[in-house]
């Protein structure tokens, strides 16, 4: 597999910056005045108790929600409004908390769907399955087969994903995101609902993706052990407000974080 090469942003520099972003649904403030950045090549964790605004933050980054205030800078470009299509085109891929797969399609077709934006050949040729379109299809198929092998899901290639156990569905969803050759990969609770063994597998995949392809990863996770092991830096949200930002060790010993998780005696 090729590693995605982002124009302009070198490893260690800021790939995505969130500045003073606020989002409210009517009277409910999901995110209030949050700023943080994600550097190229790192694994960045977003943690916080339930309802802290973590998923809202991911939805803002990939264009599902438009923040009422603040700006987002991605690859040096600042924007106030972006549609999911543009985010995908710009190199942001994601997975979902409750697995959003194309249930009626096979694992292979699901992952191929991740190549949608990479396919450009004329529809006419595609229809005939001939000439340049055939070559293109073969090329993409090869790429997808590499991903399938990487995720060790060869044997379920042809299975409609609706029939797969949850852990494998999550893996297929990761595969679909990887097929987009993303520069920034957003993972919303990739280990939720998994048993220990599945969690270990998934952790290894996340690390491998980051190592081999240099993909920058932002992940939401509840399992603190996993977060501490995987991430380079952690941002902590509580009730939509950022309460801490730093390395796992710094965050672990931060009093505000401890209070948020364990509660404060009144």
């Amino acid at each position: 597999m090729r590693s995605p090469s982002g124009p302009g942003v070198a490893a260690g520099e800021v790939l995505l910056a969130v500045e003073n972003v606020s989002l409210a649904f009517g009277g409910v403030k999901a995110v209030s005045d949050v700023s943080f950045d994600i550097r190229k090549g790192e694994i960045r964790a977003i943690i916080g108790p339930n309802g802290a605004g973590k998923t809202s933050m991911l939805n803002i980054i990939n264009g599902f929600y438009q923040p009422q205030q603040g700006a987002i800078t991605f690859k040096g470009e600042t924007r106030a409004k972006m549609r999911p299509h543009d985010a995908a085109d710009g190199g942001i891929a994601r997975t979902f908390q409750n697995v959003a797969l194309f249930r009626g399609m096979t694992a292979l077709d699901n992952i191929m769907a991740g190549r949608t934006l990479k396919m450009h050949k004329n529809l006419f040729w595609q229809l005939l399955r001939y000439g340049p379109a055939m070559a293109e299809e073969v090329e993409h198929r090869r790429f997808v087969e590499d991903i399938i092998e990487f995720l060790k899901i060869q044997e379920i290639r042809r299975t409609p994903v609706g029939r797969l156990p949850y852990g494998l569905q999550k893996r297929v969803e990761l595969g679909r995101a990887l097929a987009m050759e993303p520069e920034l990969l957003l993972l919303d609770e990739p280990m939720a609902g998994m048993n220990l063994e599945e969690k270990e597998d998934m952790s290894r995949f996340v690390l491998d993706v980051n190592d081999h392809f240099g993909t920058t990863i932002a992940l939401i996770e509840h399992d603190m052990g996993v977060v501490m092991d995987l991430s380079d830096r952690v941002v902590v949200l509580d009730h939509g407000v950022k309460i801490a930002d730093g390395t796992p060790d710094e965050v672990k010993s931060n009093q505000a974080v401890i209070d948020a998780y364990l509660g404060v005696a009144h």
Binding site: F64, A100, M105, A113
Partner: protein, 318 residues
């Protein structure tokens, strides 16, 4: 005893004694079935892409046919009128996407379903306003569709094949084949199935819902136009045509809402079943069973295969 004889024996005796009539009835049923398939296909396209039963498909058939005939009445040559009607159907797809679908993204399916009711009444009103309410004659001859019949000698009698029916069968088959190829083999086809399964997942991989919806509604519009021309050529172009669209419902139940081959096979089963039933069993009940027999066939089918012949079997976990 006599009743049982009339139901279980007599019709088959008749079939055997007059094979030419049987073949004629089968042919009539086949042609009606192909046209039912076409209508059902329009529903399947939109259902596959958005999970919505498009109630307006029937009126789209009428609207397309009316536009074609109306333009020709204003002195525009037939083929130019056809091209312009295709453009109008594309425009309709764009407007439907912009005004109706886009504001309703991520809403429950039932909301979109209700919106298609609104579209139906809007199109009825618009059609009557622009083209008037009286029936029109389809410009079949001007479009180069054949007229007359071919009589074939068969088993001591004649089987009469209308040329327009033969043309309808051929054109419908070509159309179905083209659509099936398009949706199975191209990236648009894959994107379309993706959109049907999950809006947000489709968005996250960069599929543009707007584009997909315009394509699907345009395809459904083309199917509607073809259906309108073929049905119009056999009878006349009027708002009554909308009723035949309801015949697509049993076809869809039979074939499965998501399957293009299902729409075809279902259409043929309903078409043939209807004609055979009417001709051989109809007299027992004083005729007129054609209008409801299709629904009975569909109902019996539902008992055995709720997902239809080719529908996707859903496994629900509990």
């Amino acid at each position: 005893m006599h009743l049982l004889y009339l139901i279980f024996i007599d019709p088959f005796v008749q079939m055997a004694s007059a094979p030419d009539l049987l073949v004629q009835t089968l042919w009539d049923g086949l042609v009606a079935g192909v046209l039912y398939s076409l209508i059902a296909l329009g529903f399947v396209l939109i259902f596959k892409a958005s999970g919505v039963f498009n109630f307006a498909q029937g009126i789209m058939v009428v609207f397309a046919a009316l536009t074609l005939v109306g333009l020709h009445e204003h002195g525009i040559p037939a083929y130019l009128a056809l091209a312009m009607t295709i453009a109008v159907m594309f425009g309709l797809a764009v407007v439907v996407e912009r005004v109706m679908l886009r504001p309703l993204v991520n809403q429950p399916d039932i909301i979109l379903f209700m919106a298609t009711f609104g579209l139906t009444y809007f199109l009825i009103g618009l059609g009557e306003l622009v083209f008037g309410g009286e029936p029109k004659v389809m410009i079949a001859r001007q479009l180069g569709l054949p007229r007359g019949a071919i009589d074939i000698k068969f088993a001591g009698g004649f089987v009469s094949l209308q040329k327009i029916d033969i043309a309808a069968a051929i054109i419908s088959s070509l159309m179905v084949a083209a659509l099936a190829l398009f949706f199975q083999k191209t990236r648009i086809g894959r994107a379309l199935r993706a959109v049907a399964d999950s809006h947000k997942a489709a968005l996250s991989v960069g599929i543009s819902l707007e584009q997909i919806w315009v394509i699907v509604w345009f395809a459904a519009g083309l199917v509607a136009l073809t259906t309108g021309i073929m049905w119009g050529a056999r009878s006349e172009v009027s708002f009554a045509l909308e009723i035949i669209a309801l015949k697509a419902l049993p076809v869809l139940i039979l074939g499965g809402f998501t399957s293009i081959p299902g729409a075809i096979v279902g259409g043929v089963i309903i078409g043939v079943g209807e004609k055979i039933g009417e001709f051989y069993w109809g007299p027992l009940l004083g005729s007129g069973i054609e209008s409801w027999l299709a629904y009975v066939i569909a109902l019996l089918f539902l008992l055995v295969r709720p997902q239809g012949l080719f529908g996707e079997k859903l496994i629900e976990r509990i």
